[in-house]
């Protein structure tokens, strides 16, 4: 990769420095190569790009607003805070951005069935949605624990015609859902496209999911220039696998004056064994097709992640994030369950917006940094999803009855 840009990765083998790569079984290798070829061709095909652009506008509802959070800004008393409203997308989160791109690719490759893994259910809903839109068969793998805490999304997926397969192996959460999705893919390699839900997995997925999500950062750039006439000073986003953060950050990576904060979920705290912060508490390893930082024990066994937010409850992170962390370009910080809950409630009351628990982690970082920053410091926070799906979890955590 070129030394004067942070935006040229991955290399031709899918590596971001020593991270990334293609660590999948041999049965999948020809397909993984095929996906890459199809993706590269699609990105050169004006018809594909036109269709993607049109669906982004008329189906997802893009561009979504960059919203000045006036009362939140006043409340925190420092930096000027903007929210990128990915929560206003069709299906209520940023996941639809890469689901649309991938389903068009699946169609282009002649696949008749799509599969996905999901944690919070947002990626599963997005995949079920695009599968319905294009008439493809859809199976979503979801941990049994997550099915319990995200019932509304489970029913949504079923309404959309998807089969939701409960995963009971391991910790019955997102990582186990990904194992079962890989097992399904290797078994149905001829007719099935795996719509991966984050910037992880074997190359080319971290690259293509990032590219489809980069629309967040490109729009943000244009919008902030229109509103403020200059680039923001800080970008803030939550990271589990890291798709919404990568989407916001990537178009700004070479802007030296734009600081970036990616917020991991530290659950009950980094000093406990109940967190999901792979960068703060993990070490390099190989899982689910890529080399990245993983929560693991000294024997290389993957340990269970914990976060109040199902979408961040994953023991790994996208390889490009690890590379950006080691390069020192992005600051990786964390927020606990309690901090996220506090942020969740603040945005509800201050702005009339119910944020996803995932996005609430980003807001916790904004709450931490904004008060001590000058009033002309511009923060853009990615409000990656809406929180309607989380009201049961939040009610439970607050001891309220619904």
């Amino acid at each position: 990769m070129s030394l004067n840009s942070y935006r040229t990765g991955p290399d031709e083998k899918g590596h971001f420095g020593k991270f990334g790569g293609r660590y999948v079984s041999e049965t999948l290798m020809p397909l993984v190569h095929e996906v890459e070829k199809a993706y590269r061709e699609a990105m050169q095909d004006p018809e594909y790009l036109r269709e993607l652009d049109e669906l982004n506008r008329v189906y997802i509802g893009r561009p979504n607003p960059l919203y000045y959070a006036e009362r939140l800004t006043e409340h925190l008393g420092g930096a000027k805070i903007y929210l990128k409203r990915e929560d206003l997308n069709h299906t209520g989160a940023h996941k639809i951005n890469h689901a649309i791109g991938q389903v068009l690719l699946a169609k282009r490759m002649g696949k008749t069935r799509v599969i996905a893994e999901t944690g919070a259910g947002q990626h599963g809903v997005a995949t079920a949605t695009v599968a319905a839109r294009f008439g493809l068969e859809c199976t979503v793998f979801m941990g049994a624990v997550d099915i319990e805490r995200q019932k509304p999304n489970v029913f949504r997926m079923k309404l959309l015609g998807a089969e939701v397969k409960p995963v009971t192996s391991g910790s019955a959460t997102l990582k186990d859902a990904m194992n079962d999705a890989l097992r399904d893919w290797v078994t149905n390699v001829h007719d099935t496209f795996y719509i991966i839900g984050t910037v992880a997995g074997p190359h080319p997925y971290p690259m293509l999911v990032r590219d489809f999500q980069s629309i967040i950062g490109r729009e943000t750039r244009e919008q902030i220039m229109d509103i403020e006439g200059r680039l923001p000073d800080s970008l803030v986003a939550c990271v589990g696998g890291g798709s919404n953060a990568m989407g916001l950050f990537h178009p700004f990576l070479d802007e030296a004056d734009v600081a970036m904060y990616a917020v991991e979920a530290s659950g009950h705290g980094l000093n406990t064994d109940k967190h999901a912060a792979s960068i703060a508490g993990g070490k390099p390893g190989v899982l689910h097709g890529n080399r990245t930082y993983l929560l693991q024990n000294e024997d290389g066994q993957i340990t269970e992640a914990h976060s109040i937010s199902a979408g961040l409850d994953y023991p790994g992170i996208g390889p490009e994030h690890v590379w950006l962390h080691e390069a020192g370009r992005v600051n990786y910080v964390s927020a606990t369950d309690d901090e996220a809950l506090e942020a969740f409630q603040l945005l509800c009351r201050c702005e009339g917006i119910i944020p996803a628990l995932e996005s609430s982690h980003a807001l916790a970082q904004v709450m931490r940094m904004a008060p001590s920053l000058p009033k002309d410091h511009i923060i853009v926070m990615n409000l990656s999803g809406r929180g309607d799906k989380d009201i049961f979890t939040v009610a439970d955590a607050l001891g309220a009855e619904i």
């Binding site: 079984s25 041999e26 290798m29 020809p30 397909l31 390699v189 290389g300 993957i302």
Partner: protein
């Protein structure tokens, strides 16, 4: 000195039969019972032993081998104890090749160079790492080969003539043909399909070709043995172990004997499949 794997396949060729390759997971269901099973496998007719290195997230395996790995980990299995099993086995068997099979992360966490040294010292002959395709295996393959350990490559139904040269470049020991697209313990392929696939692979290499995935009866083992240089049985044996456990996942008194008796029947199947 000829490797144990080469010597084994030469002996098979002389006897005009296929090698019977058995898979069990190290430490399943307990370290002691696992050791007893492994020690008993050659007597039950195993020509090559594949020993699974347990991993929490075996995404290329079906439920039988997944559960075996979880049982082993719950019972305290780790890489040191896996190598202990090999070392103890080698103390009174210097002939039967021992191949470690599993996923890359436990090796990576152990330290690649240290692992290769310790595995060679313990008496490991080969490695099959299912999530390490040729594109990524150099960092393990080169030090492993330097330590005298073969890195066995996998060919699959998706390995077309364009892909096979990539797979075979750097392959040693034997080629493991994964007979069906899927996970372990799933569907079975027909003997005709496998015959064709094995012939195609052999047109690209002189290495022996062993076939695995979907072989669970003596009859199937016999059919595979007629068309390949080796027949691998894993999930079926591992399921016998699972069937011999009490509610607390501890082995019932006759578990090891039942597993070895079943293995012997499979071995009879392989030996019945003598070639030409």
């Amino acid at each position: 000195m000829m490797s144990r794997l080469s010597a084994c396949f030469e002996r098979m060729a002389a006897e005009k039969r296929a090698a019977f390759v058995t898979f069990v997971t190290a430490g399943d269901p307990t370290h002691e019972a696992s050791m007893e099973i492994v020690r008993g496998l050659p007597g039950a007719g195993a020509d090559i032993i594949e020993l699974g290195m347990p991993f929490t997230d075996p995404s290329a395996d079906g439920p039988a081998i997944d559960k075996a790995a979880q049982r082993a980990i719950a019972g305290g299995a780790n890489m040191q104890r896996t190598l202990e099993i090999v070392r103890a086995f080698r103390a009174d068997n210097n002939e039967t090749p021992m191949v470690l099979m599993g996923y890359f992360n436990p090796i990576y966490a152990y330290g690649i160079d240290l692992f290769c040294a310790d595995a060679a010292e313990a008496g490991v002959d080969g490695l099959i790492i299912v999530d390490l395709p040729p594109e990524e295996d150099e960092e393990l393959r080169l030090p492993a080969n330097a330590a005298g350990i073969d890195v066995i490559r996998l060919a699959t139904p998706t390995s077309d003539d364009k892909r096979l040269p990539t797979i075979l470049d750097g392959a040693s020991g034997f080629v493991y043909y994964v007979a069906v697209a899927g996970v372990t313990g799933g569907k079975s392929a027909t003997a005709d399909d496998i015959d064709m696939a094995v012939k195609r692979i052999k047109s690209h290499t002189d290495l022996p070709v062993a076939v695995g995935f979907g072989i669970r009866s003596p009859e199937q083992a016999e059919a595979m043995a007629r068309v390949a240089d080796g027949a691998v049985v894993g999930s079926a044996i591992v399921s016998m172990i699972a069937g011999g456990l009490d509610e607390k996942a501890q082995p019932k008194p006759h578990m090891v004997k039942d597993v070895l008796d079943f293995t012997a029947k499979l071995a009879d199947g392989v030996r019945a499949g003598t070639k030409g």
